[in-house]
Amino acid sequence: MSKRETMELAIGGEMLPMRFLMKYSYQGEKYAAFTPACGADPSDEEGVALTHIVSAETKSKERTRQRLLFRLLTAVTCILCIIPVLCVLLTALVFVLQPDFWWVGMSGMIVAVADLIVLIPVARALARARKDRKEQKRRETAYEVLPGEGNGEVFSEFEIRYRIIEKLSKNEPLSMLEYQRLNIWRKFLYRSKMFFRGIPGWFGRKFKRLGLRLKAFGISIWENIKDIGATFKNGSWKTRVSYFFMGFGNLSHRQVLRGVLFFLFEVIFVGFMVLSGGHWLGKFGTLGTTRLEKVYDPVLDVWVDKHIDNSFKILLYGLLTIFFIAAFVYTWRLNVKQCRILDEITATGKRVKSSKEDIQSLADNEFHKTLLSLPVLGIVMFTVLPIVFMILVGFTSYDFENDGYNNLFTWCGLDNFNRVFAFGSKLSLAFGEILAWTLIWAVVATFSNYFLGMFVAMMINKKGIKIKKFWRTILVMTIAIPQFISLLYVSNLFADNGIVNATLMRWGWIDSPIRFWGNGTLAKVMVLVINIWVGIPYLMLITTGILMNIPADLYESAQIDGANAFQQFCKITMPYMLFVTGPYLLTSFVSNINNFNVIYLLTQGGPEHTAWGEVGGYIAGDTTILITWLFGITTGPEASYKMASVIGTLIFLVVSILSLVVFTIMPSTRREEDYA
């Protein structure tokens, strides 16, 4: 961007949003700052922050520094370039002459690779420094002879950089404009530094908030108890009766519907507690004490099972009873509150709502209660309750042998968790490796699908590509076909006697079949590749829509500024996509951690791992991820339900912690205004 343009921005720019300025400022090479007199909003801290005057003295100092930096960087780059060549030569020599000392060669290779990795940022810095120098020279000739043109102060790239470095070394937060000046690596460093520096404060805030919540919770309970007491003391006799016969207050005020429902609920609750609830709850602490016995039945002349206790049922129905009690306490409290409100209404002489009005309001203002009742009941009964139950199982000794019927099981504290974390045991070894592979799998599967899917979408969308619809339809069609069919077929395709191997052998490319599913590493690669095959159509669909939503003027202005296709992709498409699909990436990461189908249908956990072989009654192989392991343990011959529960709980912990971290550093939650 030229200086004139900058001036225009500033002059006409009272209302121009900051992001507009930003967009131009950090793409152009020259860097302009706006003084308040120049027309930019004086309250805009970004603009003011950059407005500082550097004296001629410091300028010359910086020039010296710049020159030194440039020379240093050149020297370092030269050295770094020579090292890998030497390393490769050394490695080649060692491998040819002294194969026994392979580790020397290997370390040479590692050094070379590390060196190359270091070389990249250094080379970038060098390129920057060169540009700075050129820029500096141009500035000196172009602008310094025209001091005070307009009212804008112009700073060289170097001056700004110096300021940023100063800020970084002092650990001061950068302004958004300054942050944009950093290169990718620096941005990453800065962001991660800020993230880790923020962790203590974050936890502090969370704990503080948790404390406040607990306090508020305690207070509200205390208030409730006080209110219950006060209502009993001050209420009418009808209210007092409703303390024992729920719904009496409502009935006496002619709210028949509510009264009957309350009373019915109480009857059901008392009946349940007397008939079975109390029984289950009483045994909940021990999960049963009397074992199964064989009793001789003299009438029928057979031995029959006389089972006294069933731990499984005790645990389940005990839990259900606890849920029920909680629901009852809540309803009872509601009942008391309603009686008080009724008392108040009658005291002011107003009319109470009739049953008919109640029903009407369920279709109107209280419509959400009607809509939510069944789904929420379903969620509580079939998701919340079972999950709480299975978490509790992790703290018991429930497995195939102690199944609660033939042999009782009981609480055993943290024993199962200790087994997983017992360092050096087969189980903990397996857990560690499977967890690592699960995470690798989830990360690679998510991102490979994401980028390749986006790439395919861009290819199809490119101008000049014919029959776009045809390509899309072919890809989309594959989504429709149930995975168990396609994956089982593909799994057989790559089997030892499958089509791929047979064809390759017929062509004479290989002599013996490639064991795609027999070799751990190969199986892992295959699973990832086939997952790409599964995932691309889906991502293609999603990204096509979003790509078309990117405002075209962004690309136009980028083209005018001279950005090439790759730069446009990096600076416009990628940030936009990441911003919009951030939440989706997170959900797809979570669902990949729990991606059972691909792994199980392809390899069933695949080739047996030599280090541990059979764990928990299930052969956990190389491609086993936590979820298939969990399934294997649950359905395997030993059916160690307690370990399955422990693993399930751990999966939950991993997933939730990762989601929390990702949510915190995700751009969508940070810079919402950028693309708003």
């Binding site: 030229s2 004139r4 001036m7 279709a363 203002n365 419509f367 959400h368 809509l371 939510l372 069944l374 789904p375 379903g378 969620i379 079939f382 998701t383 079972p386 139950f389 395919v456 861009m458 290819m459 969308n461 490119k462 101008k463 590509i465 390509w471 339809t473 072919i474 989309v476 069609m477 989504i479 429709a480 076909i481 149930p482 168990f484 069919i485 593909v490 499958g498 089509i499 047979a502 691309i536 999603i542 096509t544 083209q559 005018i560 001279g562 090439n564 296709a565 446009q568 919009v580 699909t581 959900t587 729990n594 059972f596 189908n597 399934f631 649950t634 529960s645 399930g648 999966i651 939730s656």
Partner: protein, 347 residues
């Protein structure tokens, strides 16, 4: 297929051939000579001169123009080839399945694609000798019931969470979020025991499965909620002013406006049971009458010996299952795209 989404203007990734960095450098150089006072106060976009470049640059421009166009053409050809290869890779396994299903000379896994002897033997065997019709019926029933009830549940939850502000809303959303992160299989054993008590396993597994699918379906409200959020709330308010109740608003105003998402939810609900393999095989517990198609077909080839006997039959079953779903899917593809895209954007 009529996907409106893709019609009309197409997103363009590569710069058009006319605009070249070369030109822009020139423009910038020219701009520096402008005088500020001479410039009117207009938006930046208008200030970029759109005029033809200088005469002396004409020659170079033409040359570059041609090369750019050739480059673009080569690139397009490459992309066409890549896309064609991709399509083959993506479609080949399905063609393979169809070929396998018509193979008559053997029933196991073989190393070639084209059958040596064509015929309908596998289909005949599929319908005569296996329980496939029963499995298909089971799955169809599950699909229809699940689609209906799940749609009702999901839309209800989504609508409430999008439009109502009530005490406990945040709590409910957090509850669903947290419990959604638990792996679903964890509850398998409990649900089995539970359903066993109600005699809804083994041969009756489809009914138990319906309950399981449907009961928690409110948890997948996200996509529908994202869609409802985009419908302006002023519509609701206008209807309220006119005296409509909330229920009337939901049924008469919001639902007709949400056709894509309703169809998407139905489609997802219907397709779910066809692909579910874990729950179905676990609940049916080796009672072949209770399988759905996924569990049943997998059961046909779950040991090497059975695979040798039934592999082609399995492929025939796959074709029979995939065909109606694919047709349905292609017909409703527009709605699927709308749902998926909306869901991804809203998270």
């Amino acid at each position: 297929m009529t996907d409106e989404l893709f019609e009309g203007e197409v997103f363009e990734f590569y710069p058009a051939s006319e605009e070249k960095p070369q030109e822009i450098v020139e423009m910038e150089a020219a701009e520096d000579t402008f005088e500020i006072s001479a410039m009117p106060e207009v938006a930046i976009a208008d200030m970029v001169p759109a005029e033809e470049p200088e005469e002396n640059a004409e020659e170079g421009k033409k040359k570059k123009h041609i090369s750019q166009r050739t480059k673009n053409r080569i690139l397009n050809t490459i992309i066409h080839i890549v896309l064609a290869v991709m399509c083959v890779v993506w479609i080949l396994p399905f063609i393979g399945i169809v070929f396998e299903s018509f193979r008559c000379e053997s029933t196991g896994v073989v190393g070639y694609i084209l059958p040596k002897q064509w015929g309908f033997d596998n289909y005949v065997r599929l319908f005569k000798e296996t329980n496939f019709p029963r499995w298909f019926g089971n799955t169809l029933m599950m699909g229809v019931v699940t689609a209906v009830v799940q749609t009702a549940f999901q839309l209800a939850v989504a609508y409430v969470l999008s439009r109502f502000r009530f005490k406990g809303r945040k709590f409910l959303m957090n509850l669903i979020l947290v419990f959604g992160m638990f792996p679903g299989f964890l509850t398998l054993i409990l649900l089995y025991t539970w359903m066993y008590d109600w005699h809804l396993t083994d041969a009756n597994a489809p009914y138990g499965l319906i309950i399981i699918y449907v009961a928690s379906s409110g948890m997948g409200y996200y996509i529908a909620k994202g869609f409802f959020d985009t419908i302006s709330k002023s519509l609701d308010e206008a209807a309220r002013v006119d005296g409509a109740t909330r229920m009337q608003i939901f049924f008469k105003l919001i639902l007709p406006l949400s056709k894509p998402i309703v169809i998407y939810t139905i489609l997802m609900g219907f397709m779910g049971p066809w692909g579910d393999f874990v729950m179905a095989s676990f609940m049916a517990n080796n009672a072949a009458d209770g399988y759905n198609v996924a569990a049943g077909l997998q059961w046909l080839i779950d040991t090497p010996a059975k695979k040798n006997m039934n592999y082609t039959t399995f492929c025939a079953g796959g074709v029979v299952v995939a065909l109606p779903i694919t047709v349905l899917f292609l017909l409703l593809q527009k709605y699927y795209v709308a749902g998926v895209t909306g869901g991804a954007v809203k998270g």
